[in-house]
């Protein structure tokens, strides 16, 4: 399935058809290593897109390009039709390892983006409290991160990224560092949050069930050097239940596409290895 022919199917309320993030033939080298061969895609306004691929395929690199932390070697990356030149407050980022600031309380972590913007303290606190409530952290405002569990830390990081109102939310394997139970609970628990947030969301993940449960669209990347090999629209209303047979069918579809790619990659790896020895 090529990117050009992939139809965008908005399913969440309010998800528009206006392109928000556009990648045109993006290529990325690290030194002499080609990490990203050619990535082209369009992510629409208020769409939740999950990007999945074999490990080491450069999924996170693509997210960092959108965030502006890294620069593309070739091609263009546009947000609102403007070239990405660096990080900015129009994009909020949540990392796998939370990256909270241990010297700030939960509330001060959450108001950080607004403090930097120069929003008056009282207004900043009010806005941060709203997202702390929606992420289920009411009552923990004055705690320091060191006293929180992993799941709660990630809730703080999500609240922190949403508090300063970015148009795009970038999630880099947000549940990757959590244990299975916490992860499943959080995915279920936060489903309404994404609807409430009503932003363009790009999530990097290696879990098919996570992608299928949360996203409107799943982009499948090939192994390195990466290309987009499939673009699957998940035409189901939110919130979704993993036991729902329709969700299962999507899960099977994405898994099949992904494992075919992983098989190919493994075979190639074995051949190169055999050729060398």
């Amino acid at each position: 399935m090529s990117v050009e022919t992939a139809k965008i199917l908005p399913l969440r309320d309010g998800a528009g058809t206006k392109p928000k993030i556009v990648a045109k033939n993006v290529q990325k080298y690290f030194g002499n290593v080609l990490a990203m061969e050619d990535i082209s895609c369009t992510i629409n306004e208020r769409e939740f897109v999950a990007i999945i691929g074999p490990s080491g395929c450069g999924k996170s690199t693509f997210l960092y390009l959108i965030a502006g932390f890294e620069k593309a070697s070739q091609g263009e990356l546009l947000i609102n039709n403007e070239l990405v030149v660096g990080p900015g407050p129009d994009r909020g980022v949540v990392f796998q390892e939370f990256v909270l600031f241990p010297w700030l309380t939960v509330l001060r972590n959450a108001t950080l983006g607004l403090d930097i913007k120069g929003v008056p303290r009282q207004e900043a606190e009010e806005r941060a409290r709203k997202w702390l409530r929606l992420t289920g952290l009411s009552g923990f405002e004055n705690a320091y991160p060191s006293s929180l569990s992993g799941g709660m830390k990630q809730r703080v990081a999500i609240a922190r990224a949403l508090s300063y109102d970015p148009e795009v939310l970038l999630l880099d394997e947000p549940f990757g560092a959590l244990d299975v139970q916490t992860k499943n609970y959080m995915i279920q628990d936060l489903q309404n949050l994404w609807v409430e947030a009503n932003r363009t969301i790009v999530m990097i993940t290696h879990s098919v069930s996570e992608a299928v449960q949360l996203a409107d669209r799943v982009l499948i990347l090939s192994s390195r050097p990466s290309r987009i090999i499939a673009d699957v629209a998940i035409k189901l209303p939110h919130p979704r239940d993993l036991r729902d047979p329709q969700v299962r069918r999507y899960e099977d579809e994405v898994t099949a596409l992904l494992s075919a790619e992983v098989d190919k990659a493994m075979k190639r790896e074995r051949q190169t290895f055999a050729g060398r020895s």
Binding site: A67, F101, L112, D115
Partner: protein, 289 residues
């Protein structure tokens, strides 16, 4: 009062109880800290009094205390010899420490942030860091002669390298993701410095300051023995040897130990309690104990 909430008096009682338990625990830990020292002093006193040890080489603690009282001359603090020595020593140690902070912290931040500069400076630092600062004393003596400048310069070197090294390590330990988080919030360079680099490096910086002050205090004694003309605890100890005045030497040693302890526990202890211990306190959410 009819308006008073019924819980108010109980809260008062609870506060009082908590205060009392804090006081009690503080007294208990102070006692536990002092007990081995007291026992040690008692054994020392007894062995000297029993004549097992020659009192002209090792005077008894009571003898040292009496000597300290005479030197302290509490009746006229302005003319107290011991106080003058202490003040002069403290002034030298603190001014060299302050000078080291002023130079080492900005330099450390710069070297921690600039990779090229770090690569150039790192081998030099590895060479200079383990060098005892007193080794420089003769060179400074040649340049500046005896006096405060030589002493302060030597103590400064003692404090400078630990502070510089810790600041560099503190800044370098801050992950790039931490910087990315605030950069994606639109942080300016100053914001990044103030909100991430400085607090992020603070735990390492505090241990660097602690180490720097300890080095400065240790170097001071040797530097004063070599370069002091009239005052300072190191000078006092060294000068007393001409009169075989062992108890005065011990008074000096005890003062050095006590002041060192006070600086370490009092100044840096409370600095840590206000920062690192608060951030990484073992208190779990919801409990205020």
């Amino acid at each position: 009062m009819s308006n008073a909430t019924p819980s108010a008096p109980f809260a008062g009682v609870a506060d009082e109880q908590r205060l009392r338990s804090i006081l009690y625990r503080g007294a208990a830990s102070a006692f536990l800290f002092a007990l081995p020292i007291i026992v040690f002093l008692l054994i020392w006193e007894t062995t000297v009094r029993l004549g097992w040890i020659n009192a002209t080489i090792l005077p008894s603690p009571s003898n040292i205390a009496r000597r300290a009282w005479v030197l302290l001359d509490p009746a006229d603090p302005a003319k107290s010899i011991l106080l003058t020595h202490i003040v002069v020593s403290l002034w030298r140690a603190l001014s060299s420490f302050a000078l080291a902070c002023v130079l080492a912290i900005p330099m450390g931040l710069f070297l921690g942030l600039n990779r090229t500069a770090y690569l150039i400076a790192s081998p030099l630092l590895s060479l200079l860091l383990p060098l005892p600062a007193v080794a420089w004393a003769p060179i400074f003596l040649v340049i500046f002669g005896q006096g405060d400048i030589t002493i302060i310069a030597v103590c400064f070197l003692g404090a400078f390298f630990p502070i510089l090294y810790s600041t560099i390590q503190g800044v370098r330990a801050i992950g790039r993701h931490s910087l990315w988080v605030v950069r994606s919030m639109g942080a300016s360079r100053f914001d990044i410095f103030r909100r991430v680099l400085l607090p992020g490096a603070l735990p390492a910086l505090i241990s660097g300051l602690k180490l720097g002050m300890a080095h400065s205090w240790r170097t001071l004694v040797a530097a004063e023995m070599l370069a002091a003309l009239t005052h300072g605890l190191g000078f006092m100890i060294f000068a007393a040897r001409s009169y075989m005045d062992v108890s005065t030497m011990f008074v000096g040693i005890v003062c050095l130990a006590l002041i060192g302890l006070l600086i370490e526990r009092g100044v840096f202890g409370s600095l840590e309690a206000l920062t690192i211990h608060r951030w990484h306190g073992n208190g779990k959410v919801g409990s205020h104990r």
